[in-house]
Symmetry: C2
Subunit: 141 residues, 2 copies
DNA sequence: TAAATTTGTTTGCTCATACAAATATAACGG
DNA sequence: CCGTTATATTTGTATGAGCAAACAAATTTA
């Protein structure tokens, strides 16, 4: 009945999928002690020492204030620190942060394995597709 | 560089899409004065007078506590009320709530039109697909 | 170089959703 | 019929994300 209509609503289904996969991701990243998004931020920081918050926001597609809050938490755990440079806040990973790299990679692998057993190759294709769709939807404004 | 990896992560892309489409949906439903999810709950209540909270949770794929909170808000606006029946809380739409039916339908149509102009027919197909994927992912647990 | 504008970040507040524990009612087994 | 278990809801609390306004530094304009 009504189900049928809801199923065709992208707002509805995209958010449901978000909740479902978030739960899986939180489970997978639990052993790292980080939320999946925080772990992704840390991964981005591994790649470029002294990356700015703006860049992090662009990579993660998060608002500036959200990035600030994530960094606060990671800094409180002593996994990274920021050095203010003019109006930029540059992010550096600490040794303790660097030490998590392996673990985070494992968590990520585990997450992808976990949904790959159900979705197969299609999981990756779907993900790329969703990325494209988001780009298109954001473009129009 | 790192982007490439993130794009293949379903956690990452599904949540980004969720944020993008949520913004569109909030815009579309703004004139109703309701959040999209609250509007959907009301739609479900239109369909079945005296629907239980449990049923609403199943239709909307939301946790019981979330449904309770949504109903509190809608009841505060006098759009519906609940009548306790044993351990059930049955939901009835008020006249004021019923009066919103047209508006909500328009908001919904507007949302779908809005993303259909970019995604075309594919939008609906994608939505159904995401629904299926969520079902599969939830099954394994 | 002083004022105006732009850009990057932070702060205060709010929202949507969830989990876990508490509560209340119903159902079942003896 | 009583005690135990199962089910539905509520309450307290937490988290992730965002907006809007504030702030600070840099860039442009005059």
């Amino acid at each position: 009945m009504l189900d049928i209509y809801f199923k065709e609503c992208l707002y509805f289904t995209a958010n449901r999928l978000g909740r479902v996969i978030t739960k899986m991701a939180e489970d997978a990243f639990a052993i790292s002690g980080l939320s999946p998004t925080a772990a992704f931020l840390l991964m981005a920081a591994y790649e470029k020492d002294g990356i700015s918050q703006k860049e992090l926001g662009q990579i993660l597609h998060l608002q500036p204030s959200t990035v600030t809050r994530l960094i606060e938490k990671l800094a409180a755990k002593n996994l990274l620190y920021n050095r203010v440079d003019g109006r930029l806040s540059l992010i550096y990973v600490t040794d303790k942060g660097r030490a998590l790299e392996q673990t985070i990679q494992q968590c990520w692998d585990q997450l992808r394995e976990r949904y790959a057993t159900i979705l197969g190759e299609e999981g990756d294709a779907l993900s790329l597709h969703l990325y494209e769709v988001s780009n298109q939807l954001e473009k129009i404004e």
